[in-house]
């Protein structure tokens, strides 16, 4: 029987989860995910892979936006940098894939230092604007530096072989993404309960108070920004491998916005929210498609050529309805459902 939230020790307060059941369920979910690639058809598998890659990127953004309360409108810039760093290191210079992954994270982190050092001294929308500018400028840099990046031609990327394991098949690649995702998840959860994580949340909630408590704002904001960029860079490398071809066009500006939508729909600041939000946003077009399909061929025929536009519009409508009726995000619904489950038939 689970009891309330009373804790006697400090370590009890910050433990990852105090419930054995949460551990058991999580382990079951992880086991299911490990088996999934062997059961799913290739299309479902590619959706799973996409969810996992997006989740890594969204977790990266969450450290900045969810934990620290800083908005980035150009996170796709770090995705591009990561993808190109991997492609250049592995395809053009023949380095091992592990070095490629390290490069993708480190180069993105380096870019974040260049963007972050001047912009993080100020608060408000400033970082949002400089990151937005960064995501446009970096595309130009890549196109202009054709000697290093092959410019508009793009670079093709093969599936990697790491430590003698060949990740060429779709299922193997999905498992690689799963492994990176689990690592990132644990990293994020642990950052949240560390000294740094608490400092970041303090900055988000009230930066003046945080400063009075001895939190160096610029340093900690930079920590958050660099970590965020590092993780997003890794996600970029994975996305590049998934696409098998890295070019500026594969990373449209819309991805930055989609990542923010994931955080909001999931519930800002919560790692669980990021997971739920990612699954929701990636699978939403599929759901819309299925609904249209069940509405019968009548609807499809009625709109003939417009059916694809209709799908895009429904996607927007669902997001608006969501924000309107559940501003706490999916994580809010999750908590409501859990409470109902535990306390039923009582209301509290």
């Amino acid at each position: 029987m689970r009891s309330g939230d009373f804790k006697e020790t400090y370590s009890g307060l910050i433990v990852l989860s105090d419930s054995t059941w949460v551990w058991i369920w999580s382990a079951l979910l992880a086991a299911a995910l490990v088996c999934a690639p062997f059961v799913l058809n290739a299309y479902a598998l590619s959706l799973l892979t996409l969810v996992l890659i997006t989740l890594i990127g969204a977790l990266g953004l969450n450290i900045l936006t969810g934990l620290t309360g800083l908005i980035s409108l150009g996170h796709v810039g770090f995705l591009v940098v990561g993808a190109y760093a991997y492609a250049i290191a592995v395809t053009k210079h023949g380095l091992p894939p592990l070095a490629g992954f390290a490069a993708s994270g480190l180069v993105a982190a380096l870019a974040s230092v260049i963007v972050g050092v001047p912009s993080l001294r100020l608060r408000g929308l400033y970082l949002a604007i400089t990151t937005l500018a960064f995501s446009f400028i970096i595309n130009n840099v890549i196109l202009e530096a054709a000697a290093v990046t092959d410019g508009a031609r793009g670079i093709s990327v093969l599936r990697p072989t790491i430590l003698g394991i060949d990740f060429d098949s779709d299922a193997a690649f999905a498992l690689l993404c799963l492994a990176v995702t689990v690592l990132t998840l644990f990293a994020c959860l642990n950052i949240r309960r560390s000294r740094i994580g608490r400092a970041l949340v303090a900055i988000r909630d009230n930066d003046t108070a945080a400063r009075t408590m001895g939190v160096n704002l610029v340093t900690f904001k930079l920590y958050a920004f660099v970590t965020s960029a590092f993780i997003t860079g890794i996600a970029g490398a994975l996305l590049g491998i998934y696409l098998s071809f890295v070019s500026v066009e594969g990373f449209p500006f819309l991805l930055s916005i989609e990542a923010l939508a994931i955080l909001i729909v999931g519930g800002l600041g919560s790692v669980l929210g990021v997971v739920l939000g990612t699954v929701f946003i990636i699978l939403l077009p599929e759901v819309v498609q299925t609904v249209l399909h069940f509405a019968g061929s009548g609807v499809e025929a009625l709109f003939a050529n417009g059916v694809h536009e209709l799908k895009a519009m429904l996607y927007g409508v669902v997001i608006i309805l969501f924000l309107r009726f559940e501003p706490r995000g999916l994580v809010g619904i999750w908590h409501d459902v859990k409470r109902l489950w535990v306390h039923w038939p009582l209301r509290f």
Partner: protein, 290 residues
């Protein structure tokens, strides 16, 4: 020398259009604190509306513009009432994301209602090339510059002397205090959305006269946004002026530097300016260093 003048003048012409869009951003930001990511899409809808009037009803330029202005106002009011009003009291961030979703819907509605082909908004005068002293501009480009200057003067008077203008500034400064003083925030928001839609809509119609309509026109929003930032998000007048500055800068960069620079000149300038004045050229000094 004439090359420089030509570059500057055509920069002013495109800059005036950026300025109009930027003012649309600033009006909404000033009144509601939101960055409206659907600004470019609203602009595009109004332009398509004008095109529909021009091709189905009449080609008379005054009727078309009047129709577009009314349509834009209705569009702004409808969006405010149906989509944005229910978000009052929710976190600002959620409101901004709503405009992002709205942008997706409006963008798709273009090819859903109309089609993906580019169309010419041909109203005669707008397309005619006017030449004077070696310079040449199209009618609509001259109209854009004149409209922008007119609006700048109008807004100056409006914020200074009109009751609504002062109320708007009050809501922007402190909405709770404004509410206590008997200012209806909802009415101010509605007015702001309508005004923003009309201003940007006029910009859209003039843009379409010069550069044609296409479903890619929403990208105009991304061009106007840097101007708003440069001028100061909360400064309607500053945004208009910054539009001109960005237009001229881009053109000069395109004329004298590499093609890649033309595209990012605006953004580079913003970064430099914001280092020195984080609140924009004309914005109110509110950002605090901690």
């Amino acid at each position: 020398m004439s090359f420089l003048i030509d570059l500057t003048v055509s920069g002013l012409a495109i800059g005036a259009l950026y300025g109009l869009i930027a003012m649309g951003f600033a009006v909404i930001y000033k009144a509601t604190g939101l960055v409206n990511f659907a600004q470019g899409e609203m602009t595009m809808i109004v332009a398509y509306l004008a095109w529909t009037i021009a091709t189905t009803l009449t080609g008379n330029v005054f009727v078309v513009v009047a129709g577009a202005v009314i349509g834009a106002a209705v569009l702004g009011l409808a969006i405010e009432r149906i989509v944005m009003r229910p978000m009052l009291g929710e976190p600002l961030f959620a409101g901004v994301m709503v405009t992002v979703a709205l942008a997706v819907i409006l963008r798709s509605s273009i090819t859903f209602i109309w089609d993906a082909y580019p169309h010419a908004l041909d109203l005669g005068v707008g397309r005619d090339v006017l030449r004077a002293g070696g310079l040449s501009l199209r009618g609509a480009q001259v109209a854009a510059i004149v409209t922008l200057l007119g609006l700048l003067a109008g807004f100056y008077v409006f914020f200074r002397f009109s009751k609504f203008g002062i109320a708007m500034r009050a809501v922007a400064a402190d909405d709770r205090a404004a509410l206590l003083m008997g200012v209806s925030a909802a009415r101010i928001h509605a007015l702001a959305w309508a005004a923003s839609s009309v201003i940007a809509g006029i910009g859209g119609v003039l843009f379409a006269m010069v550069y044609d309509l296409s479903p890619a026109m929403f990208a105009l929003g991304l061009k106007g946004f840097p101007a708003t930032i440069l001028g100061g998000l909360d400064s309607v007048l500053g945004s208009g002026v910054a539009g001109l500055i960005i237009g001229v800068t881009e053109n000069l960069a395109g004329g004298y530097l590499t093609p890649g620079m033309k595209d990012i000149a605006g953004f580079l300038m913003i970064i430099v300016v914001l280092m020195v004045r984080p609140f924009g050229l004309f914005g109110e000094r509110e950002i605090v260093r901690v």
